[in-house]
C-alpha cells in the first residue's frame, strides 16, 4: 500500500475540522495538492499543509494508507465519508471520526471523542481505547443511523451508541458494534443493529428496540421493565452469521414498541 504520513505541527487552539483527510480526497493527488486541501479552524479556512507536515506518495483510493501522528484530540471529522483505503491515527482523535464512511478501515490507537462512526454505511472502524457518546449513532433528526459496517471499540463507549441503527436482510447489511463496556441507552431505537459487549452496561440498554440483537457478557445495572425473560441459551446466532457461545438469559423486547417482537437482549448468567 502507498503511504501518506501526516504529522500535526502544533495543537490547534480551537477544534480543527479536517474532513479532507480521507483516502477518497487524497487519491491521485500530488503532495502539493494534498497540502492545499481546506481545513477549518474556528471561523477561518486554512490549508492542510499549514497544520500538518505531509510526506509520502499518493495512489488510488483503495491502495492508499494515511498515517497520522501528533495529538489529534481536537481534530474533527477525519475519514468523513470515506469509501476505501486506510487511515491509522496514532493518538486520541476528535469528534465525528469516520462519520458517514462506507468502506475502508480506520484504526484509532487512542480514544475517540463523541460521534465516532456516526451514520456509518460500511467499512470498519477500530478504536483501541475508549470512545465518547453516540458511537455509530444517527445524527439528530435522522431516524436511520448506522446501516452497515463494523465498529470495534476496545474500551468503554458512551451513551446512546448505535441509536436508530437499521439492518436490511435483503441487502445483507448488518451493522455491528463490538465494545468493552457501554454507558446508558445502548442501542436506543435499534432497528436491527447487532451489539456485543464484553463487559458491563449501564441502564436502559435496548430502549425502544424494534428488532435487533444486543449481547452483554458482563452485567447490566438493570433491565428495562418492558423486556421479558424468554429463557436461557448457550449459543447465540447473530444476524451476520457469527455465533456467540456462553450461558445467557434471553429477553425479548422492547415491548413498548410491539406486543410481540423479534428484538432480543442477551445477558450473561
Amino acid at each position: 500500500m502507498a503511504e501518506i504520513k501526516l504529522k500535526l505541527k502544533e495543537e490547534p487552539k480551537f477544534p480543527l475540522e479536517a474532513d479532507c483527510i480521507s483516502p477518497d480526497k487524497f487519491a491521485g493527488k500530488s503532495l502539493d495538492e494534498i497540502k492545499a486541501l481546506p481545513v477549518y479552524h474556528a471561523n477561518e479556512q486554512l490549508t492542510l499543509g499549514e497544520y500538518f507536515d505531509v510526506s509520502g506518495k499518493s495512489a488510488e483510493k483503495d491502495d492508499l494508507k494515511i498515517i497520522i501522528d501528533g495529538d489529534l484530540s481536537k481534530v474533527k471529522r477525519i475519514g468523513e465519508g470515506m469509501s476505501g483505503g486506510e487511515i491509522v491515527i496514532n493518538s486520541d482523535v476528535g469528534m465525528h471520526v469516520g462519520n458517514n464512511m462506507s468502506g475502508g478501515i480506520i484504526t484509532v490507537n487512542g480514544n475517540a471523542d463523541d460521534w465516532a462512526g456516526a451514520m456509518m454505511q460500511g467499512g470498519e472502524l477500530i478504536i483501541n481505547g475508549d470512545a465518547g457518546h453516540y458511537v455509530g449513532a444517527a445524527y439528530r433528526g435522522n431516524w436511520i443511523g448506522m446501516s452497515n459496517g463494523v465498529i470495534r471499540v476496545k474500551g468503554k463507549i458512551g451513551n446512546e451508541s448505535m441509536s436508530w441503527a437499521r439492518s436490511s436482510k435483503g441487502k445483507k447489511a448488518f451493522p455491528v458494534l463490538k465494545c468493552g463496556s457501554a454507558a446508558a441507552f445502548l442501542g436506543v431505537h435499534n432497528h436491527g443493529g447487532t451489539i456485543v459487549v464484553e463487559g458491563d452496561v449501564d441502564r436502559c440498554a435496548g430502549a425502544d428496540q424494534a428488532w435487533g440483537s444486543i449481547v452483554i457478557k458482563g452485567k447490566v445495572s438493570r433491565v428495562l421493565p418492558s423486556y421479558k425473560k424468554v429463557g436461557e441459551v448457550k449459543e447465540i446466532e447473530l444476524p451476520n452469521g457469527e455465533t456467540v457461545k456462553g450461558k445467557f438469559v434471553e429477553y425479548s423486547g422492547d415491548h413498548t414498541v410491539k406486543k410481540e417482537t423479534n428484538g432480543r437482549l442477551y445477558i450473561a448468567v
Partner: protein, 442 residues
C-alpha cells in the same frame, strides 16, 4: 398637592414565563414613567414590571470596564468596543435570546452568521432535550385553549406549575371553566408525578412518587402495560406494579388527556430520552383515546427563539456558523459544552444570565474571555461583563412578538417609555451589525 397623572394599560401581555398571560392591567405614572400597580399578574410577572422602574439595580447608561471597574460610557463608545471584541474573536458565542422579542432574535441570527460564531439560546439548558426528542419521534400536541376547553385528565410530570407557571392552573389546566368543562376543577382529574410532594401535587387528585432519575423506567413500564404486556416486576422506580396498572386504567378512561412536563424530565440524567418515551406514550394512548403533550416552557419567549432560529437557519438552537452556513449539533455547539471545552474566545449575552444559570465550570471559562452583556439589570453576568449595553425591556418598554409555550404568537405591547436613551434590543443588535460590518471592511 401634586396630581399624579396615571395611565392604565389593559390587555397587557406579561413577559415572564411561557404561559404568556395576556390579561394584565398596568398603571403607569406618566411624568416619570413609573409602574405603580399591576393587576391580574402572578407574583413573578408583577415583580418584573416593578423591576423596570429606575433603581440602583438597573443600568440606564452603557458601561465599559476600565481599570477593572465598570464606568459609564456613551452608546457610541460602548457599541464600538463591543463590535471590536466581536470582530477580533475567532469563535464568539452569542447566547441567551429567550427574554427578548422575535425581531431582535432574528437580528441575532444575522449577527452570528456575519461573525461565523456559535449561536445558542437558553433552551440548551432547559427544554433542549424536548426539542431533541421532537426531532426523533415527533409530537402530538395542541394549544392551551384546547386543553382548557376539553381536557378531563391532566398530568403534570416533573413540573411544578404552582411555583413555575403560577397562573397556568387558573387559566388553562385546572381551576378554570372550559367550553366543554363547565364544572371547571370538578370536571378534571389531575395527576402529578414527582419525586417530591410538591404544592402542585398537594392539590392534585392522584400523586405518583417516582424515584429521582428513574422516570424513564416508569414511563417505559406504563407503555408496556398499555400494550397489554404482563410485566415481570413488583415495582418500577419506586412505584408498585399495582399503581402502574391503576394509572394506565385512569389514562385509558380519559376522554381527552394532556401531559404537561418540565425540568424533572429534561434535566434529570436520561434527558431527551425521557421526553422521547413520554411522547411515544402520548402517541400510543391515542390508540385508546385522545391524548396530547406540551412542554412547560420556562421563559416567555424561548419558544420564539427556537421558532425564529428555525425559520432562519433550519435549526432551533446550538447552531454553528463557522464554516459559512448553519450547522446544528447540540452538545458540540451548545453554550455549556463549548465553554467547558474552552473553545470560545468571546461571549455576547443577550436577555439572559448564564453566570447565575450555568454550572460553575462553563461560567469560569466565560469569565476568562471578553464578555458583552445586553442586560437592563445588575446580574452576576452583567456586573462581570466588559461591556454592558442596557436595553429597553422588551414587552414592557418596547413592542414585539413572543411565542407562548404552545407556539401561539402573541403581540407584546409597549406599556411605558424606557429610561432616557436606552435603545431596544433590536436597535442594539442592528447597530452592532453595522459596526461589525464596518470593521470587517464590508
Amino acid at each position: 398637592m401634586v396630581q399624579k397623572k396615571v395611565k392604565t394599560v389593559y390587555d397587557v401581555v406579561c413577559p415572564f414565563c411561557g404561559t404568556l398571560c395576556d390579561d394584565l392591567e398596568v398603571d403607569v405614572e406618566l411624568s416619570n414613567q413609573e409602574v405603580l400597580e399591576v393587576r391580574n399578574g402572578c407574583q413573578i410577572g408583577t415583580k418584573k414590571y416593578f423591576s423596570s422602574n429606575v433603581s440602583p439595580h438597573r443600568f440606564t447608561k452603557p458601561m465599559i470596564r476600565k481599570d477593572g471597574e465598570l464606568q459609564e460610557a456613551s452608546w457610541d463608545e460602548a457599541l464600538d468596543k463591543a463590535a471590536d471584541i466581536l470582530v477580533k474573536a475567532k469563535r464568539p458565542l452569542l447566547y441567551g435570546w429567550s427574554s427578548t422579542e422575535c425581531e431582535a432574535q432574528g437580528k441575532g441570527v444575522e449577527l452570528a452568521e456575519i461573525l461565523g460564531g456559535v449561536l445558542d439560546n437558553t433552551a440548551s439548558v432547559c427544554h433542549g432535550p424536548t426539542l431533541l426528542a421532537k426531532q426523533d419521534v415527533g409530537v402530538p400536541t395542541s394549544t392551551l385553549g384546547e386543553y382548557k376547553n376539553r381536557a378531563d385528565t391532566v398530568i403534570f410530570w416533573g413540573c411544578n406549575p404552582v411555583h413555575a407557571h403560577p397562573r397556568h392552573l387558573g387559566r388553562y389546566s385546572e381551576f378554570v371553566r372550559g367550553y366543554f368543562k363547565r364544572d371547571g376543577r370538578n370536571d378534571r382529574t389531575i395527576i402529578v408525578v414527582d419525586p417530591r410532594y410538591t404544592q402542585t401535587a398537594q392539590i392534585a387528585d392522584m400523586y405518583v412518587k417516582v424515584n429521582p432519575n428513574e422516570d424513564y423506567e416508569l414511563l417505559n413500564a406504563i407503555r408496556a402495560v398499555l400494550r397489554g404486556v404482563e410485566l415481570d416486576v413488583e415495582e418500577v422506580s419506586g412505584v408498585s406494579y399495582e399503581k402502574i396498572k391503576e394509572l394506565v386504567e385512569v389514562l385509558k378512561a380519559a376522554k381527552f388527556g394532556v401531559i404537561f412536563f418540565g425540568m424533572g424530565l429534561t434535566q434529570s440524567i436520561a434527558k431527551h430520552r425521557n421526553i422521547d418515551t413520554a411522547i411515544c406514550l402520548t402517541r400510543e394512548l391515542n390508540d385508546h383515546t385522545k391524548f396530547l403533550i406540551t412542554a412547560m416552557r420556562g421563559h416567555y419567549n424561548v419558544t420564539g427563539a427556537n421558532t425564529v432560529f428555525t425559520w432562519n437557519t433550519g435549526f432551533p438552537y446550538s447552531i454553528d456558523f463557522s464554516r459559512g452556513y448553519a450547522r446544528y449539533n447540540p452538545g458540540e455547539f451548545s453554550a455549556c459544552e463549548v465553554l467547558m471545552r474552552d473553545e470560545v474566545d468571546a461571549t455576547l449575552v443577550m436577555a439572559s444570565d448564564p453566570a447565575s444559570n450555568f454550572p460553575q465550570l462553563p461560567v469560569k471559562t466565560m469569565f476568562k474571555y471578553p464578555l458583552i452583556a445586553i442586560e437592563p439589570h445588575k446580574t452576576p453576568t452583567s456586573v462581570n461583563a466588559d461591556v454592558v449595553l442596557p436595553p429597553a425591556i422588551a414587552g414592557i418598554e418596547c413592542e414585539g412578538t413572543a411565542y407562548r409555550m404552545d407556539h401561539v404568537p402573541i403581540r407584546l405591547g409597549k406599556v411605558k417609555e424606557a429610561p432616557n436613551g436606552c435603545l431596544t434590543d433590536f436597535e442594539i443588535i442592528e447597530k452592532l451589525i453595522e459596526k461589525v460590518k464596518e470593521k470587517k471592511g464590508e
